[in-house]
C-alpha cells in the first residue's frame, strides 16, 4: 500500500515533464525558425572568426520566404563573394531574438508594430517600408458554401477560419470585418496563416482570410475570392539594419537592394503591393 503514494509522486514529476512537453510542443511551429537561427548564429560565429567578408544573416517574416530566397540569390550574384543566410519565422519571434542579442544583420518584419518593438529596444536602425500585403478570402476548390463576396462570411452557417487576434494576419482580418461593418463569428482562430490555409484546403472550413501572397502560393489547393479594396486591410513590411551588425555596410546594401526596382518586381510577382501604393 505504501508504494501507491510513491507511484503518484513519481507520476507527478512525469506530469510536470508532460507540461514542459506542452510548451515544447507549442514551439514546434516555430522550431523551423529556431533551427534557422541556430544555423545563422553559427554562420556569424565563423564570420567573426574567419573574417570572411560578405556574410550576412537576415531574419525575415515567414511570408517573405519565397521572395527573399530569390532576392537573396540575385543579391549574391550582384555582389560576388557575399553569402546570405536566412532565418524565417513569425515576426514577433524574430523580434524577440534580436532584442535578446541573437547575432543578425538585417531584420525584415511583416508588421510595423513588431519593428517598433525592436526599435524601441534600440536593437535596430531606422526602418523603411519595402512592401505591402493585403488580405483575401480563400475557399476550398469546390467552394461548398458558395462564398462569392465578403458579406457571405457573416452567414452563421458558413464556417470561417481566421488568424488569432494575437498575430498580425488576425489583426488584419478583424480590420477587414470592422471596415465592412460585418459581424463574423469565426469557428476557429488559428495560430498562423498556414493553419488557416490547411483548414481551407482540407475543406474543414468553408472560408478563410489569408494574405494575398499566401493565396497565390497555394492556388492549386484553394480558390481566392477577392476582398473589395475599400474594405481591405493592408500590412506594411518594414526592413531595418540590426544595430549590432558586424557587417553594417553590407547590411545597408542589402536593404537598399530590397528596395530597388528588381526586387520590387519579384515582390510584385508574388502578390505583394509596392510600399508606395
Amino acid at each position: 500500500m505504501t508504494r501507491y503514494p510513491r507511484l503518484v509522486a513519481g507520476s507527478g514529476l512525469v506530469a510536470l515533464l508532460a507540461l514542459a512537453g506542452c510548451s515544447g510542443g507549442s514551439s514546434t511551429t516555430s522550431s523551423s525558425s529556431s533551427a534557422g537561427s541556430s544555423t545563422s548564429s553559427s554562420t556569424s560565429a565563423s564570420t567573426s572568426q574567419g573574417g570572411a567578408q560578405g556574410e550576412l544573416t537576415v531574419l525575415a517574416a515567414a511570408s517573405l520566404r519565397d521572395v527573399f530566397v530569390t532576392i537573396g540569390k540575385d543579391f549574391e550574384a550582384a555582389h560576388p563573394g557575399t553569402k546570405i543566410t536566412f532565418s524565417f519565422g513569425p515576426s514577433s519571434g524574430l523580434a524577440t531574438q534580436i532584442v535578446n542579442g541573437s547575432p543578425a544583420d538585417v531584420f525584415a518584419s511583416a508588421s510595423a508594430a513588431t519593428m517598433k518593438t525592436a526599435a524601441d529596444a534600440g536593437a535596430v536602425d531606422a526602418s523603411r517600408l519595402f512592401a505591402r500585403n493585403s488580405m483575401t478570402i480563400v475557399v476550398p476548390k469546390d467552394n461548398p458554401a458558395k462564398v462569392d463576396d465578403l458579406s457571405d462570411l457573416a452567414d452563421s452557417t458558413v464556417k470561417v477560419a481566421i488568424c488569432a487576434a494575437e498575430v498580425p494576419c488576425g489583426v488584419a482580418a478583424h480590420k477587414v470585418f470592422d471596415t465592412a461593418k460585418l459581424s463574423v463569428k469565426p469557428i476557429s482562430e488559428e495560430a498562423d496563416v498556414s493553419a488557416v490555409l490547411t483548414k481551407v484546403s482540407l475543406g474543414e472550413v468553408d472560408a478563410g482570410i489569408v494574405y494575398v501572397t499566401d493565396a497565390s502560393s497555394a492556388k492549386d489547393k484553394v480558390q481566392a475570392v477577392e476582398i473589395p479594396a475599400a474594405d481591405n486591410a493592408t500590412t506594411d513590411y518594414p526592413i531595418a539594419v540590426v544595430k549590432d551588425s558586424a557587417h553594417h555596410d553590407l547590411a545597408q546594401q542589402f536593404t537598399d537592394f530590397v528596395l530597388a526596382p528588381e526586387a520590387a518586381k519579384v515582390l510584385a510577382d508574388a502578390g505583394f503591393a509596392g510600399a508606395g501604393g
Binding site: 512525469v14 510536470l16 507540461l19 514542459a20 514546434t28 476557429s188
Partner: protein, 281 residues
C-alpha cells in the same frame, strides 16, 4: 507475529529503506542530482521571469478562466475515456498473442512518437468534415466534430491513451493469475472476477496510467490546435492560450504557463493526498 505490532512498524521500515537509499553510492547520487537539477532548473528560471505584478490582473481575465476550465474538463474527460477504452485494450494486448496483436501493440505506441500536429491532421482525415468517418457522420446525422470541445477531448485522448495502455498492460502482465483462479473456484464469472478482483489489484497501475494520461492531455497542443482549432471559450485550452500569448506578450505567456503548472501540481498533490488517506484506511 501479532498484528498491532506489525502494522505501525511498516511505515518505519519504509522510511528506513528510503534513508538507506539516500546514502546510496555516489555513482547513483550524482547523476540523480543532475537529473533533478535538469528538470527543476528551467522551472525555477521560469518562476524568476514571471511578471508578478501583472499576475493578479491576468488571473481575473475571463479568457484565462475559460481556457483553464476547458483545459481541466477536457483533460479529465480524455483521461476518463482513456480508462474506459484503454483498460480493455491493455487487457487484450496482455492476454492475446499472434502477429496481429504484435502489430496492434506497435500501433498503440505510434501516437507517442508521432508529432502531435501530424496526429491532428490524421484525426482530421478520420473525423474531419471530409474524413473517412467524419463525412458519413456529417451526411447522415449532421454531426461535425472539428472545432468543438469534443474534438479537443478526442485530440487529447489520441495522444494520452498510449500512456494509460502501456502502463496498465505492464501491470496485467505481472498480475498473479492465481487470484483469478481462486475467484473461479468460488463460482465467480470472468467478468465478475475482472471487476471485483483484477481491477482493484490493478488500481495502482490504473491510477499511475491515468495521471500520466491526464497530464499529457493537459499539456496537449499540436493535435488540439490542428483538429479542434482555436476558439476562445470553446476549444482554446491553456496551451493554446499560452502559445498565442507568446506571439504578442511573452510575459503573459509565462504567467499563463505558471498558472497551468500550479493547477497541475495542485491537482496531483490533492490526488496524492486522497490516495494516501484511502490507502491508510
Amino acid at each position: 507475529m501479532t498484528i498491532p505490532a506489525t502494522s505501525p512498524a511498516r511505515p518505519g521500515t519504509i522510511r528506513g529503506d528510503e534513508a538507506a537509499l539516500g546514502r546510496g553510492p555516489w555513482q547513483l547520487r550524482l547523476p540523480a542530482a543532475i537529473a533533478a537539477a535538469f528538470l527543476v532548473l528551467p522551472l525555477l528560471a521560469l518562476l524568476v521571469r514571471v511578471p508578478w505584478s501583472t499576475l493578479p490582473h491576468l488571473l481575473t481575465e475571463p479568457i484565462v478562466g475559460e481556457a483553464l476550465r476547458l483545459s481541466l474538463i477536457c483533460a479529465s474527460a480524455a483521461a476518463g475515456l482513456s480508462m474506459l477504452f484503454g483498460i480493455p485494450l491493455a487487457w487484450v494486448l496482455a492476454h492475446a498473442s499472434g502477429p496481429l496483436v504484435n502489430l496492434l501493440r506497435a500501433l498503440v505506441t505510434v501516437p507517442l512518437v508521432l508529432p502531435p500536429v501530424v496526429g491532428g491532421v490524421a484525426l482530421l482525415a478520420a473525423f474531419g468534415r471530409r474524413g473517412v468517418l467524419g463525412r458519413p457522420l456529417d451526411d447522415l446525422f449532421g454531426i461535425t466534430l472539428p472545432f468543438t470541445p469534443i474534438a479537443v477531448v478526442l485530440a487529447e485522448t489520441f495522444v494520452a491513451l498510449p500512456f494509460l495502455v502501456l502502463t496498465v498492460e505492464g501491470a496485467f502482465r505481472t498480475l498473479d493469475s492465481g487470484y483469478a483462479e481462486a475467484a473461479a473456484t468460488l463460482g465467480a464469472s470472468r467478468w465478475f472476477t475482472f471487476r471485483t478482483v483484477v481491477l482493484p489489484l490493478l488500481a495502482p497501475a490504473v491510477l499511475a496510467g491515468s495521471v500520466l494520461a491526464w497530464a499529457r492531455a493537459l499539456g496537449e497542443f499540436g493535435a488540439t490546435i490542428t483538429f479542434a482549432g482555436n476558439s476562445p471559450g470553446r476549444t482554446q485550452t491553456m496551451p493554446l492560450a499560452v502559445y498565442l500569448a507568446m506571439e504578442r506578450d511573452p510575459d503573459a505567456a509565462i504567467a499563463l504557463s505558471l498558472i497551468l503548472l500550479l493547477v497541475c501540481v495542485l491537482v496531483l498533490l490533492l490526488l496524492r493526498g486522497r490516495w494516501l488517506t484511502g490507502a491508510a484506511r
